[in-house]
């Protein structure tokens, strides 16, 4: 990665990482000890179960609910489901789901040789799904070679969000032709709180478009067409967050999405999803992303939309360190860690730009090999579009000076309208001007070690270490810290929040071929 880095004290950096590891380890153990309805549904999706009943309830939901009613999910659904298939209760998963929905199948947790047979059948079926994800990853690598990659960093990231997939496609293609390297399709408001993934192409959403397997397929095909035409592989992004994170990650892998929003704590803090549910779902979804060669984007920018960007700068660093630990533990490599941060310091503050530079350089220096995602101002965009355009220019300048890897293009009409065609065009001109004028400025930019920028970066790092120590001072570490509001104002107790009833502690006989196949070998 390009970009100047600050000479941070290696002892402090090591300490920060080791504290993050200490805070994260008990969470990983917790995740390993539990399963969720969404992890089980994702497993069935990997085995090829698709579609929904006439009311729109996905078959994976019907089948998991039926198994759960008979046996619980403590043993996983794989043993009961493939036991039923091996016994000949149905010819395939869809038929089994249909029968289970009307109550004409009884499930049991098989033992002995029946269990062995069920395990082998399940492993074969789920293994086929994993192999399909592997094939989609190789296909991406091949297409990037054939069509070429984005010609420069930062990659230019643009958002599309009409609610109608058939409107999104031409808009995304137009954005790609205008210079976007990455297209993100924003999801409909509230999808993160649905405990199922909607089916089929969708034409109506609230301020965004539903994430469905068919919408993923349609948009990837549209961008493939444009990528071939442009001679540049255009990446597609969606959101693996909320109650169905493991399923959406699996669908992303199956449909060759390239980047996914995937934060370890966002759902807990901002959506009041149960912490255990989130951490279990997180780990599974990250394992899928690791396997699929998907770059994750973490959500640290969100901290700065609720807290002050100067006072809370260290919470961003702490979250990045935790996200890094959880990601690597799940098998993701440095090149897949799109750690997030944002340009949200109050522009009326003296030296606001220098503070932004300090924070961005700290992130670049701490994570030199990660494709950092740089997020534009939103909080201080007021509706004065002229001032907003200037702010976005300075945002782009920090991006250039600190070697950011993924640049979400800021719109001067942020907080006014969803971007117009002209807003997007003006915003891209802004990015191009800055990158053309000083894209290589980082070669000349070496802030002195005793200057304002380096001092501020050291201060934020020191505060991050303090916060991590504070987290570890809690009896139950990170879980207690989340419960008592250490992160922002949100108090999220371990036994509260949405989706807790979909969590179960694994029994000794628990079996899930997906988690076995996805577990990183080390």
């Amino acid at each position: 990665m390009s970009g100047t880095t600050l000479a941070l004290d290696p002892v402090t950096v090591r300490k920060a990482r080791s504290l993050a590891r200490k805070a994260g380890r008990p969470i990983v153990r917790l995740a390993q000890q539990h399963t969720t309805v969404s992890v089980e549904r994702a497993t069935l999706r990997l085995a090829g179960l698709r579609g929904a009943d006439p009311d729109g309830t996905p078959w994976v939901n019907r089948l998991v609910d039926a198994v759960r009613a008979d046996t619980g999910i403590e043993s996983g659904v794989s043993l009961p489901v493939w036991d039923a298939l091996v016994r000949g209760d149905a010819a395939d998963l869809e038929e089994l789901a249909t029968k289970a929905a009307v109550g004409s199948v009884r499930f049991r947790v098989p033992g002995g040789r029946d269990a062995t047979r069920a395990r082998s059948a399940a492993s074969k079926a789920v293994g086929a799904g994993i192999r399909r994800i592997d094939a989609r990853r190789r296909e991406r690598e091949r297409l990037v070679r054939r069509w070429g990659d984005a010609p420069q960093t930062p990659w230019i990231y643009l958002i599309v969000a009409t609610g109608d997939i058939y409107e999104d496609m031409p808009q995304a293609q137009a954005a790609a032709r205008a210079g976007a390297d990455v297209i993100a399709v924003i999801r409909s408001t509230g999808q993160s709180l649905l405990d199922y993934v909607p089916e089929g192409p969708t034409r109506e959403g609230y301020a965004g478009t539903y994430a469905t397997q068919e919408n993923f397929r349609l948009m990837r095909a549209a961008l493939d067409q444009t990528s071939a035409e442009l001679g540049r592989y255009v990446r597609l992004t969606n959101y693996a967050s909320g109650l169905c994170m493991p399923e959406i990650a699996s669908l992303a892998g199956l449909e060759r999405l390239d980047m996914m929003l995937n934060d370890s704590m966002y759902g807990i803090l901002f959506r009041d999803i149960n912490p255990v549910r989130t951490f279990v779902d997180q780990r599974f979804s990250r394992q899928v992303h690791a396997r699929a060669g998907i770059i994750i984007n973490t959500g640290e920018d969100n901290y700065l939309t609720t807290a002050d960007a100067v006072d809370a700068a260290h919470t961003v660093t702490v979250s990045q360190l935790l996200n890094e630990f959880f990601a690597k533990e799940a098998g993701l490599a440095d090149w897949q860690l799109g750690l997030g941060h944002a340009f949200e310091v109050n522009p009326d503050l003296p030296d606001s730009f220098r503070l932004e530079l300090a924070h961005a350089m700290l992130a670049r220096s701490l994570f030199p090999d990660a494709p950092l995602k740089w997020m534009p101002p939103t909080r201080h965009m007021t509706g004065d579009v002229f001032r907003g355009y200037l702010l976005d220019g300075f945002f782009n300048l920090v991006g250039a000076m600190t070697g950011q890897s993924i640049l979400l293009v800021g719109m001067m009409t942020e907080a006014v309208v969803t971007p117009w065609l002209s807003d997007r065009d003006l915003a891209l001109q802004n990015v191009r001007y800055v990158m053309n004028a000083c894209g290589n400025l980082h070669e000349d930019f070496h802030p002195p070690p005793d200057g304002f920028i380096a001092t501020r970066a050291r201060q934020v790092l020191a505060e991050s270490v303090e916060l991590l120590e504070q987290i570890l001072d809690h009896d139950k570490g990170l879980l207690d810290a989340i419960a008592d509001g250490t992160f922002g104002l949100m108090k999220r107790p371990t036994d509260g929040g949405r989706g807790l009833d979909g969590v179960a502690r694994k029994a000794d006989v628990y079996y899930n071929p997906a988690t076995e196949l996805l577990e990183p070998t080390r």
Partner: protein, 261 residues
């Protein structure tokens, strides 16, 4: 017009000279950039009352669109004495002002209990108002330090809602109804407000607020609630209204209640 010592009520836009009437505007036409496109932009501006209209910038955006910046003199006037505005009956406050008002005047946190009643499983509305994530760039009520939010989620029964409101000593109850059939949202709301009237003496009943895309904001009295919010309502509006009704407008009662806590 009034005499010269009063400021004039009839105004023209101001560029750099009183009365010059200068304005700027920008827009996009769905046609390729050409002489014809620039002529079309000028003609549109003239139709809008800008004459002379000067197209100072025209740029192709892709093969089929052109972006224009136009400057010119607008020949319309505005008579300020004839301008009618609809005042909101409560002031829109910032999160800081809201927290301060609650802290100073109520002297305890204000408790809000919310949920979706009936069979409606769509928590989009209640979550947009209550979740930190919020809506339309505004943070939800959970973000306000001085508001204590209890979000019961979907499919809450009316007795559950009343019981929880009592247990939490709710100051306000927020109910969302998004997807409804055959006016179920009206029926549910009436049932809810009747239950609260039955369970509480009039003086201590929490503030009842309903919201959803199908509601008409003028129906509050019919429904037996204090306020109805319709489509597009933001968390800041709801929070401002809560402060207006529970803190600013009823200081005496609230302060006596606050001192008991």
């Amino acid at each position: 017009m009034s005499s010269s010592d009063l400021s004039p009520t009839v105004l023209r836009p101001y560029g750099d000279t009183t009365g010059d009437g200068m304005v700027q505007l920008s827009f996009t036409l769905p046609m390729p950039h050409s002489k014809l496109a620039e002529g079309a932009a000028t003609q549109l501006a003239v139709t809008m009352g800008i004459d002379p209209a000067l197209v100072v910038h025209a740029k192709a955006m892709g093969p089929a669109h052109t972006f224009f910046v136009v400057y010119g003199r607008v020949n319309h006037l505005v008579d300020v004495s004839q301008v009618r505005i609809v005042e909101r009956d409560y002031a829109l406050l910032s999160p800081k002002e809201i927290n301060l008002a609650v802290r100073k005047r109520l002297r305890r946190r204000l408790t809000v209990v919310g949920g979706c009643i009936g069979t409606d499983a769509h928590t989009v509305g209640i979550d947009a108002i209550l979740n930190v994530k919020g809506f339309a760039g505004e943070k939800g009520l959970e973000y306000y330090r001085e508001l204590r939010v209890v979000n019961l989620g979907a499919q809450v029964s009316v007795p559950q809602l009343v019981a929880r409101a009592q247990a939490e000593r709710a100051d306000a109850v927020l109910v969302s109804q998004v997807v409804t059939q055959r006016d179920a949202h009206l029926f549910n709301t009436k049932e809810m407000s009747a239950a609260f009237r039955e369970a509480y003496p009039a003086a201590t009943r929490p503030l009842l607020i309903v919201g959803g895309p199908r509601f008409d904001e003028a129906m509050a009295t019919d429904l037996g609630v204090d306020r109805v919010f319709s489509r597009g309502t933001t968390p800041g509006e709801v929070a401002s209204y809560l402060v207006h009704s529970l803190v600013t407008a009823r200081p005496v009662r609230e302060e006596s209640r606050g001192s008991n806590v």
